[in-house]
Symmetry: C3
Subunit: 208 residues, 3 copies
Amino acid sequence: MTLANFFVYLEALGVIAFALSGIIEAARKHFDLVGVVMVAAIAAFGGGTLRDVLLDRRPFFWAEQEFWLWALIAVGLVLPFFFKANHIEFTEKAMLIPDAFGLGIFAAGGTHIALQTGATPMVAVVMGVITATVGGVLRDVLVNEVPRAFHDHQPYAVIAFAGGWLVVLLSYLQTPEYLDVLAAAVVMVAVRLLAVKFGWELKRWRFL
Amino acid sequence: MTLANFFVYLEALGVIAFALSGIIEAARKHFDLVGVVMVAAIAAFGGGTLRDVLLDRRPFFWAEQEFWLWALIAVGLVLPFFFKANHIEFTEKAMLIPDAFGLGIFAAGGTHIALQTGATPMVAVVMGVITATVGGVLRDVLVNEVPRAFHDHQPYAVIAFAGGWLVVLLSYLQTPEYLDVLAAAVVMVAVRLLAVKFGWELKRWRFL
Amino acid sequence: MTLANFFVYLEALGVIAFALSGIIEAARKHFDLVGVVMVAAIAAFGGGTLRDVLLDRRPFFWAEQEFWLWALIAVGLVLPFFFKANHIEFTEKAMLIPDAFGLGIFAAGGTHIALQTGATPMVAVVMGVITATVGGVLRDVLVNEVPRAFHDHQPYAVIAFAGGWLVVLLSYLQTPEYLDVLAAAVVMVAVRLLAVKFGWELKRWRFL
């Protein structure tokens, strides 16, 4: 596996994770199959597309590897039937698991890509946060939920932010860069899953 | 009428159709005249602008043909008074008619433009879907409706998707390309109008 | 103070004003501190970023002067505690004051920047409106309010539109361009503050 391949596979994993979160959300809300595929596509590609627009990177990863568009349509059409046939039902929290994987992978990958285009560390970290949160925010808005990244009082964007700095710090070491990205992604996914499991909350602001 | 002219006029027709749908929606919701013009502008220009950003095409069609901005402001200011003077009232479904025209025209035109910039068929079709749906989604969000493209369980985005493939297939024939686009647009508008009229529904997804 | 400096400082003032409006809104809604910083950042940078994407200007002002990202995070984290320690509470209208400053400054600055890139007057004015309104609309959507720019029936976008034309007209005079922008910004801020204070309303549209 070459280095370029590693990042393509990692990005693919993030796409799959966010697509899955979108499929679960849209299926729970009784969207039709077209709606399921659209929500999955926007959750999966939204963040990376905005990152590429902001960094002026063309073609987009989904335009370059058109295969993912086909795969996503196939999966979005088939998966709900698979769930149904196997009597798999989802609780409200089910989508938080793939969502955590998407968060960590896209934050690490987005920061890395921005660093490679010559962005300063702070800008690169912000790009990582954008990559990791925008798809999920659009998904939540489209299924008519208040976006989790802003309102659920659990650490979400802040994990992407801190994890982005981890990528930056690791990039100063002499380790291969795919290890930097992988380590930061693993840490972020783990922290997010723990936060969900144990109900960690950020202090919410009150004027009183 | 030259070929370039044909596509300009077709785009204009789509702009007018979506602007009209925005004017009807905003007027029904008792927006002020400034709000009516803004919703009309966003409905009319939103999809095409995002398509041009994604394809990196500059200047935008509304920046190149500034005339349309003036026309839209004039129409947005005048049309509500015309409706009022003629005691025209709109039912909830009235805006679905111009919306159907915008859908078909923008999906066909957007796919065609993307093909011309060298996009692969699948990417071009997705660009057509984006062109056709984004303006309407923004319009619905801004007037505080759940976006029709995702929730109404009637075929909408799927018509743009299938119609985009019709443009791609026709482009392999030896017919002039404006005929391809025109035929696909007519088919899409007709199918959408029939879907609205007869209440065709997509199977919505249920886990139970 | 050189000319380039003047515009940097003016943009900074607009960023601060919109960030403040975002902080107030998010704190009033009991967002956590991460949410406060994110809403502030999106309110402050949203409009200018979309303007730069549409005009194809890179790097973005917040990527070029990374200092503002740091300042915004610091202010977003510190200010709520300052408010609390001083028992400052905000009424629903408190954020309309910084919002008015952001509106005037960004509309004038955005129109000026667009004119400099060679946009026609009408397109430049529309860019000014986009710069001035998009950050506020995103802020309102994210805190789950209906966007003020569309629904409050008070002059908002129309002030940005008329003020943009003031920039265009003044640019034909032989005055230094920073005076044009400053004068237009002052007029817009004043008109918006008066509109808020005296409850000026635009005629809202009714079919009956």
